[in-house]
C-alpha cells in the first residue's frame, strides 16, 4: 500500500517540457566591450541603426553576404548579437538585390525604405516607403514609390532619417539620388551623388497618403524627432546650428549652436541630450549644461548615430575608409 502511495506521490501532475532545448550558443557580450567599441564585424555593410522601444534592441540595415541583399537586422542590446534578420526572400541568389534601409520603429509598427536593384544595375529600379506591423513586417503597405526619372532615368528619389510622429504619420528627409556616367573632364565611371530636397511629413490615416513639405527645411542634412513627437530637430548644409521646430509652430528656434566651422549632421535628441556626427566625429551635447564632448573613432569615421531612449548609449556607423561600415557602440554615462 505504501508503494502505491509512493507511486502516486512520485508521479507529479506537472507536464513535461521538451527533452532538451538548444542553448544560446552564440556570443552574449559585445565583441569590444570598451567605448567606443566595435559591435559588428560583418563583411558586408551595416548601416542606419535605429533603437526599438525599450532600448532592448536595434534595427539596422545589414548586408547579407550570400546574395548582397540588405536586410533589417535585429541586434540585441543585451547580448549584442544579431537575433533575427528580416529579408525579402531566402538566401538563394536571384536577379534582384533588395535593400531595406532607414528603419524607424514606433511601438508595434515599422517603417523602412525598400529599394530594389537589378543584380547588374547601377541604380535602383524602385525605392518604396513601407510601413508594416513588426510581427507582419512582410505584409506592409507601400506609402510612396519612387521610380527612376529624368532624360536618362538617372534620378531616383528616396527617403532617409525616417521618424514616427504618430501611428499614422511619419517625417523623413526627401533625398534625390543621381547616378551618372562621368564625362570628360570627369573620370569615365559611374558616379552617384545624393542631394537632399527637404523634410517632408506624410500622413497615411486615410487611403491616400498626404505629403506635406516642412517649410524652411530645404536641403536639410539630418532630422530627429523629440521624445514626445511634438517637435523636430534638423540641420542645414554649411550651418553650425541645430534647429528645433515645434510641429504646431511655423518658426524654428535654435536648439544648439556649434562653434563656427563645425557643421553638424545626423542629429539625434533624447531629453536634454543631443548627439551629432560631424567630420567623422561624434559630438555629445548636454543641452542643459550646454557642454559638448567629442568622441573620435579609432581609425573609423562615425556617421548616422542612434541615441538610445534613455540617452546613455549610442550606436553609430563606423567606416574605416573602405566604404564598408560596421556598427560601433559609444556609452554616454
Amino acid at each position: 500500500m505504501r508503494a502505491v502511495a509512493l507511486l502516486l506521490v512520485a508521479v507529479t501532475a506537472c507536464a513535461y517540457d521538451a527533452p532538451w532545448t538548444p542553448k544560446p550558443y552564440g556570443p552574449d557580450t559585445p565583441f569590444d566591450p570598451g567605448s567606443p567599441g566595435r559591435v559588428t564585424i560583418n563583411v558586408g555593410v551595416d548601416r542606419t541603426p535605429a533603437w526599438l522601444p525599450g532600448d532592448s534592441a536595434l534595427l539596422y540595415s545589414v548586408e547579407r553576404t550570400g546574395d548582397h541583399d540588405r536586410c533589417l537586422g535585429v541586434l540585441s542590446a543585451r547580448t549584442w548579437t544579431l537575433r533575427r534578420t528580416l529579408c525579402h526572400g531566402g538566401v538563394a541568389r536571384d536577379s534582384i538585390v533588395d535593400a531595406f534601409e532607414w528603419p524607424g520603429v514606433r511601438s508595434g509598427s515599422l517603417a523602412f525604405q525598400w529599394g530594389q536593384w537589378a543584380v547588374t544595375g547601377v541604380r535602383p529600379m524602385t525605392r518604396r516607403l513601407m510601413v508594416a506591423a513588426i510581427d507582419r513586417w512582410d505584409h506592409g503597405r507601400v506609402l510612396l514609390e519612387f521610380l527612376p526619372y529624368g532624360a536618362g532615368l538617372e534620378y531616383v528619389d528616396g527617403v532617409r532619417n525616417l521618424q514616427w510622429l504618430s501611428d499614422t504619420s511619419l517625417v523623413y528627409v526627401h533625398e534625390q539620388m543621381h547616378v551618372y556616367f562621368g564625362r570628360p573632364p570627369d573620370p569615365p565611371v559611374w558616379d552617384t551623388v545624393f542631394a537632399v530636397l527637404d523634410v517632408e511629413r506624410i500622413d497615411f490615416g486615410s487611403s491616400v497618403p498626404v505629403v506635406t513639405v516642412v517649410p524652411g527645411t530645404a536641403g536639410a542634412t539630418s532630422l530627429a524627432v523629440n521624445d514626445s513627437a511634438t517637435a523636430i530637430y534638423y540641420t542645414l548644409p554649411g550651418d553650425s546650428l541645430v534647429y528645433r521646430l515645434p510641429l504646431d509652430a511655423a518658426v524654428a528656434s535654435i536648439a544648439y549652436a556649434f562653434p563656427g566651422g563645425v557643421f553638424p549632421m545626423d542629429v539625434q535628441v533624447r531629453g536634454e541630450r543631443l548627439v551629432a556626427a560631424e567630420a567623422g566625429e561624434l559630438h555629445l551635447v548636454d543641452l542643459q549644461a550646454l557642454t559638448d564632448s567629442v568622441v573620435t573613432g579609432p581609425g573609423v569615421a562615425f556617421s548616422h548615430p542612434a541615441l538610445s531612449r534613455d540617452g546613455h548609449l549610442i550606436v553609430v556607423e563606423g567606416d574605416a575608409g573602405f566604404g564598408v561600415s560596421d556598427l560601433w557602440r559609444v556609452t554616454w554615462p
Binding site: 500500500m1 508503494a3 502505491v4 509512493l6 507511486l7 512520485a10 508521479v11 507529479t12 501532475a13 507536464a15 513535461y16 517540457d17 521538451a18 527533452p19 532538451w20 532545448t21 538548444p22 542553448k23 550558443y25 552564440g26 556570443p27 565583441f31 566595435r38 559591435v39 559588428t40 564585424i41 560583418n42 563583411v43 553576404t65 550570400g66 541586434l75 549584442w80 548579437t81 544579431l82 537575433r83 531566402g90 538566401v91
Partner: protein, 921 residues
C-alpha cells in the same frame, strides 16, 4: 484413442468458421448408467440459445458468442445440471458432456466437460489466439503486440505478406483501411480491456472473409455481464530514473454490466501519452556539444498520445434475436522527430490519424428444437479513417505528462480538407521557405533548418459502409452450410501538396487530389461435411470491386472479379489431427495506388507517380499441411508446412526510362515457403510455456511499390533484366523466428511445496524471449546500382529481446487489484532494425560525412561575423571575431554533418519500463 477421437468428431459436429466472433458448444448427454439421453435440452445462459439432443444424446449449439458461458442441461425426470464457466473461443467448438441423474437417485451428480479445440479435426484454420485476460498477464499492451507473438508474424507482416495484406475482423465484421493499409495502418485500435480474445489466422480462414492474402486478425469483444464489474489501471514510467523516464502515462478504465430492460453494456477507455513515442536505442553522439549527449535516450519533438475508446450494447429482442451495437474511436496524434528540425522544431512535421467504427449486429437464433437450425447474422458497419500530416500552426502544450489534448491544426489543413487544387496552385498562406537554423551548436548554414516548414501537407479520408449477411444452416449432425455475402460502399478522398511555400511550376509538382466512391461485393458458400473418420471443408468465394475512379489519366477503371476456392480435409491418425488445406485468397489493391501521388523525395520515388485506376486483385494461393498432437495431457504441439504463391502484387511499372514516368501495376509476384512449430503448455501447477518457431523463405520480384523500379535489374545470373522477371528475398523474410513465452505464478501449492516463497504468494511472472534472424536488404549506390551481390542478398544482424512482466496482488480497502512492473527489452539490446543501403551499416561512413561537410561548405563559404548568432567562439581559432576560411569553418560543417547524419532511427527500442497498478471493482 483413435476411436475416441472419432467419437469426438461425431459429437462435435462442424467447427464454426475461423475468423469470426462466435464458436459452438457440442457434446453428449447421458444418464448415470452411461446411456444416451435423447430429447434433453441444453441451453446457454438465460436460455436464448440451445439445442436438443438427438437419439444418440448428441447436441450442438452453433453461433455462440465467444466468451465464458453458463451451460445447463435438463430433461424431464432428471436433475438439471449447470456448469458456470464454459469457455467458447471464436471459431472453435467447445465440448461439454453432461451426466444427468434421476432426482430420486442418490448417485452424486457428475459433470464432465472438456474442450479440446486443438485436436478438433474440423477446425482447419491455423489459429493462434490470445485471450483478453491473458494479454493482461503478458508484457504486451496492444492487440498488435499480442498478435505479433504468433509464429510467422514479423511485426504486422504475416507469412511473408506485405504489411496491409491482412484483414481485421471485429466481431465478425471485416474492417480494413483500403486506402493505404500497406503504409498507413488501420487507424483504429481496440482497447484490450474490451476484448474476449484476439487471434491470428494465417490460412484456412473461412470463405466468409476476403480482403486479405496473408492473414486475418480476428478480434472478439465481450458482451456486458450480468453484474457490474470493471477495472481501472494506471501505468507510468515517470517516477523512474532519468534514462528510464520516457514520460509515459497510460490510463485504462473499463466496465460492463446490465442496464435496463436486459440491455447490457461493455466499454473501455485507453489513453496513453509519451514524451518520446518512438524511443530508440541509438548510441549517444560523440561530440559533447551535441545536446543529445546529455540526454541520449529522448528525442525532441517525438511525443505522441492516443486515445482509444470502445463501447458495446447488447440488446435482447425477444427470445431468439439479439442486437449488438458497437462503437469505437481512436485518435492518435504524433509529433514527428525530423533531424533537420532538431534545433528549430516549431515547424517540424506532425501527424494525426483518427479512426471511427460504428456497427450493428442483428442476430437471429435457431429455435431450440429445430431439426435444421438456421442462424443468421446481419451486420452493418461504418468505418471512417482520416489522416493528416504536415506542419502545425502551433506546437501543442503538455498538460499532464505528455498529454496535451490539443486537436492539432495544420498549415494548409483547410485547403487540404477542401481539396482545393485551384487555390493550391499558388503558394499556400502560412508557408514560408525553411531557412538554415541559427540555433545549432555548429552555427553554420547547413543541414538543419527552421523558421519554415518542409512545405508539405497531406490528407486523406477513407470511409466505408459495409453490409454483411451470414447464415449458418445445420443440415444434420454430418453437415453444415454457411453462406452469405457482403456489399461495401466506400469513399476515398485524398489531397497532397508539396513545397507549398512555392507556386506550382518548374520543379514544384501540382497538388494531387482524388475523390471517388468504389464499391465491392462478395458472396460465399461453405460446407463442412463429416464422414466416419474424415472431415471436409469446401468453400467458394466470389469477390468483385469497382473503383469508379477517374483520376484524369485516361485509364479506364473496370470492374474486377475474382473467384477463390478453399478446401480442407482432415482426419485423425495415430492420435494426431492431420489437416491438408488449399486456399486462394484475394484482396483489392490499396486505393492509394489508383491515384496520383506527389513526393518531395527524389531519391526515393521521383517527384510524381501516376495512379492507375485499372489495378486488379492481388492474390495468393496457399497449400498447407498441418499436424496437431498432444505429446502429453498437458502439452500440445502444432506444426505447419506451407507454400504460398502470391500474384498480381502492386509494383512500379516503368513507362519509359525515367523514374518519374512509372505507373503502378499488378506486376509483382512471389512465393513463401515455411515451417512453423508451436509447443504449448497451459498454466498448470504454477507454470506454463509456449514456444513458437518459424523457418520461412519469402521471395518476390520487388518489395515496395514506391521503390524505383530500376533498383532491381540484375537477375541471379548477373544479367540485366526487366525488374519483374526475377525474385529476391522479401523485406519481411525473417527466415528464423523463435519466441518463448514462460509464465509462472506462486500458487498456494507452490508455497506449500517451497515455504520460502511464502512472501511471493500470488505473484505472477511472464517472460517473452524473442530471437529473429535479420531482414534482407539491398546494397545500392545513389544511382540504384547494386553494390555487392544481388538485390536483397544482404541481411541485417539478428534481433533479440526479452520482455518481462511481474505482477503482485494487492488489496486496497474493498478493492482487489495488483501492482506490476512491465519491462521491455530487459537486456537493453541494441537491435539494428535497418541500415543504409549504401553503407550496409547504420549511418554514413566517415568519408561520406566528410563529403557532406565539404559540399555544404562549398555552398556557403561565407565568413561568420561575431555578432551573428552563427558565431561560435570555440571555432574562431585566431580570435579575430570572424570565423572565416576552411580552417575555421570546415570543422563546424563537419560537426554539423556528423550530428545530422546520426543513425537515430536505425535502432530498435531501448529498455522500457513501466510501473502499473490496477483495481478491479
Amino acid at each position: 484413442m483413435r476411436r475416441g477421437l472419432l467419437a469426438f468428431v461425431l459429437v462435435a459436429g462442424a467447427a464454426p468458421l475461423a475468423g469470426q466472433a462466435t464458436g459452438a458448444i457440442a457434446g453428449r448427454v447421458r444418464d448415470s448408467s452411461g446411456a444416451p439421453l435423447p430429447f434433453a435440452r441444453v441451453v446457454v445462459g438465460n436460455g436464448r440459445q440451445g439445442a436438443e439432443t438427438d437419439s444418440l444424446g448428441n447436441y450442438r449449439i452453433r453461433e455462440v458468442q465467444a466468451g465464458w458461458h453458463q451451460v445447463t442441461a435438463r430433461r424431464v425426470g432428471f436433475q438439471a445440471v449447470s456448469r458456470d464457466s464454459v469457455l467458447v473461443q471464436a471459431g472453435q467448438t467447445t465440448i461439454a458432456n453432461f451426466v444427468l441423474s434421476s432426482p430420486l437417485s442418490l448417485t452424486p451428480i457428475v459433470i464432465e466437460t472438456s474442450a479440446d479445440t486443438l485436436l478438433d479435426p474440423l477446425a482447419p484454420a491455423d489459429v493462434q489466439r490470445i485471450g483478453g485476460d491473458e494479454m493482461r498477464r503478458l508484457p504486451v499492451t496492444t492487440v498488435e503486440e499480442a498478435v505479433a507473438l504468433s509464429a510467422g508474424a514479423v511485426g504486422e507482416s504475416y507469412r511473408g505478406g506485405r504489411v496491409g495484406q491482412q484483414s481485421f475482423v471485429l466481431d465478425g465484421l471485416g474492417v480494413k483501411n483500403q486506402l493505404d493499409a500497406s503504409t498507413g495502418g488501420l487507424g483504429l485500435r481496440i482497447p484490450p480491456d474490451i476484448l474476449t480474445e484476439a487471434s491470428l489466422v494465417t490460412n484456412g480462414f473461412s470463405a466468409r472473409y476476403g480482403q486479405a492474402i496473408s492473414g486475418l486478425i480476428n478480434v472478439v469483444t465481450k458482451d456486458g455481464g450480468e453484474r457490474w464489474q470493471g477495472r481501472a489501471a494506471y501505468e507510468t514510467d515517470r517516477p523512474l530514473w532519468a534514462s528510464a523516464d520516457m514520460g509515459l502515462d497510460r490510463f485504462v478504465l473499463s466496465g460492463d454490466g446490465p442496464l435496463l430492460g436486459g440491455v447490457r453494456f461493455a466499454g473501455a477507455l485507453d489513453a496513453e501519452a509519451r514524451l518520446d513515442a518512438d524511443p530508440v536505442n541509438a548510441p549517444a553522439p560523440t561530440d559533447p556539444r551535441d545536446p543529445r549527449t546529455a540526454v541520449p535516450w529522448l528525442l525532441p519533438h517525438n511525443a505522441g498520445e492516443h486515445y482509444d475508446g470502445a463501447a458495446k450494447l447488447t440488446v435482447p429482442i425477444g427470445g431468439r434475436h439479439a442486437l449488438r451495437l458497437f462503437g469505437a474511436r481512436s485518435v492518435e496524434r504524433r509529433l514527428l522527430f525530423d533531424p533537420a528540425y532538431k534545433y528549430d522544431d516549431a515547424l517540424a512535421p506532425a501527424r494525426r490519424v483518427t479512426g471511427t467504427l460504428v456497427s450493428g449486429h442483428l442476430q437471429h437464433l435457431a429455435s431450440l428444437d429445430a431439426l435444421h437450425p438456421l442462424t443468421a447474422d446481419l451486420r452493418v458497419g461504418w468505418f471512417n479513417r482520416e489522416f493528416m500530416q504536415g506542419s502545425l500552426l502551433s506546437q501543442p502544450p503538455f498538460h499532464f505528462g505528455a498529454f496535451s489534448g490539443d486537436p492539432m491544426y495544420f498549415l494548409g489543413g483547410d485547403v487540404a480538407l477542401r481539396q482545393d487544387t485551384i487555390a493550391a496552385q499558388n503558394a499556400l498562406p502560412g508557408f514560408v521557405p525553411p531557412e538554415y537554423s541559427v540555433r545549432t551548436p555548429w552555427g553554420v548554414p547547413a543541414f538543419f533548418v527552421g523558421t519554415g516548414s518542409r512545405g508539405s501537407i497531406g490528407w486523406n479520408r477513407f470511409q466505408e459502409l459495409r453490409g454483411q449477411l451470414d447464415l449458418a444452416w445445420g443440415l444434420g449432425q454430418d453437415a453444415d452450410w454457411y453462406f452469405g455475402g457482403e456489399l461495401v460502399r466506400q469513399r476515398v478522398r485524398t489531397f497532397q501538396r508539396v513545397f507549398a511555400y512555392l507556386p506550382v511550376g518548374d520543379s514544384v509538382p501540382p497538388p494531387s487530389a482524388a475523390d471517388f466512391r468504389p464499391t465491392s461485393a462478395a458472396a460465399y458458400s461453405e460446407w463442412q461435411l463429416r464422414t466416419s473418420d474424415l472431415g471436409f471443408t469446401i468453400g467458394v468465394r466470389l469477390d468483385q470491386f469497382q473503383p469508379r475512379s477517374d483520376t484524369g489519366t485516361g485509364l479506364a477503371a473496370r470492374p474486377r472479379w475474382t473467384f477463390s476456392p478453399r478446401f480442407a480435409v482432415s482426419t485423425v491418425l495415430s492420435g494426431a489431427t492431420v489437416i491438408a488445406s488449399f486456399g486462394r485468397f484475394a484482396q483489392a489493391p490499396d486505393y492509394q495506388y489508383l491515384v496520383d501521388a506527389a513526393f518531395d523525395d527524389t531519391l526515393r520515388t521521383g517527384r510524381f507517380r501516376r495512379g492507375n485506376p485499372d489495378l486488379g486483385y492481388e492474390t495468393a494461393t496457399q497449400f498447407e499441411f498441418s499436424v496437431r498432437a498432444r505429446p502429453s495431457p498437458r502439452t500440445n504441439l502444432r506444426t505447419n508446412i506451407y507454400v504460398k504463391r502470391m500474384e498480381g502484387l502492386v509494383a512500379s511499372v516503368p513507362l519509359s526510362v525515367s523514374a518519374d514516368s512509372s505507373i503502378f501495376g499488378n506486376a509483382d509476384y512471389g512465393s513463401v515457403r515455411g515451417v512453423e512449430a508451436l509447443l504449448e503448455r497451459p498454466i498448470h501447477g504454477g507454470w506454463g510455456a509456449r514456444i513458437t518457431y518459424a523457418l520461412q523463405s519469402a521471395t518476390a520480384t520487388a518489395t515496395n511499390a514506391f521503390e524505383l523500379f530500376r533498383r532491381i535489374r540484375i537477375n541471379t545470373l548477373g544479367d540485366t533484366v526487366f525488374p519483374g522477371s526475377v525474385e529476391f528475398p522479401l523485406d519481411f523474410d525473417r527466415r528464423h523466428g523463435l519466441t518463448v513465452i514462460l509464465q509462472g505464478i506462486v500458487t498456494d501449492s507452490v508455497v506449500h511445496a517451497v515455504p520460502v516463497l511464502r512472501p511471493l504468494r500470488g505473484v505472477e511472472t511472464a517472460l517473452i524471449a524473442r530471437y529473429q534472424s535479420g531482414l534482407p536488404y539491398t546494397r545500392t549506390n545513389a544511382a540504384g546500382d547494386s553494390l555487392i551481390g544481388l538485390p536483397n542478398s544482404n541481411r541485417l544482424p539478428p534481433t533479440e529481446t526479452v520482455d518481462l512482466l511481474v505482477r503482485r496482488p494487492l488489496r486496497f480497502a474493498w478493492l482487489q487489484g495488483s501492482v506490476y512492473l512491465d519491462v521491455r527489452n530487459l537486456l537493453n539490446r541494441r537491435n539494428i532494425e535497418s541500415v543504409r543501403r549504401d553503407t550496409g551499416s547504420p549511418g554514413l561512413g566517415p568519408q561520406d560525412v566528410s563529403a557532406m561537410a565539404e559540399s555544404a561548405y562549398a555552398a556557403h563559404p561565407e565568413a561568420i561575423p561575431y555578432e551573428s548568432l552563427r558565431y561560435r567562439a570555440w571555432a574562431d581559432l585566431n580570435g579575430d571575431g570572424m570565423i572565416a576560411g576552411s580552417a575555421e569553418l570546415l570543422p563546424l560543417y563537419l560537426a554539423a554533418a556528423r550530428d545530422f547524419a546520426q543513425p537515430v532511427f536505425f535502432f530498435g527500442p531501448p529498455r522500457l519500463l513501466r510501473l502499473g497498478m490496477e483495481f478491479d471493482f
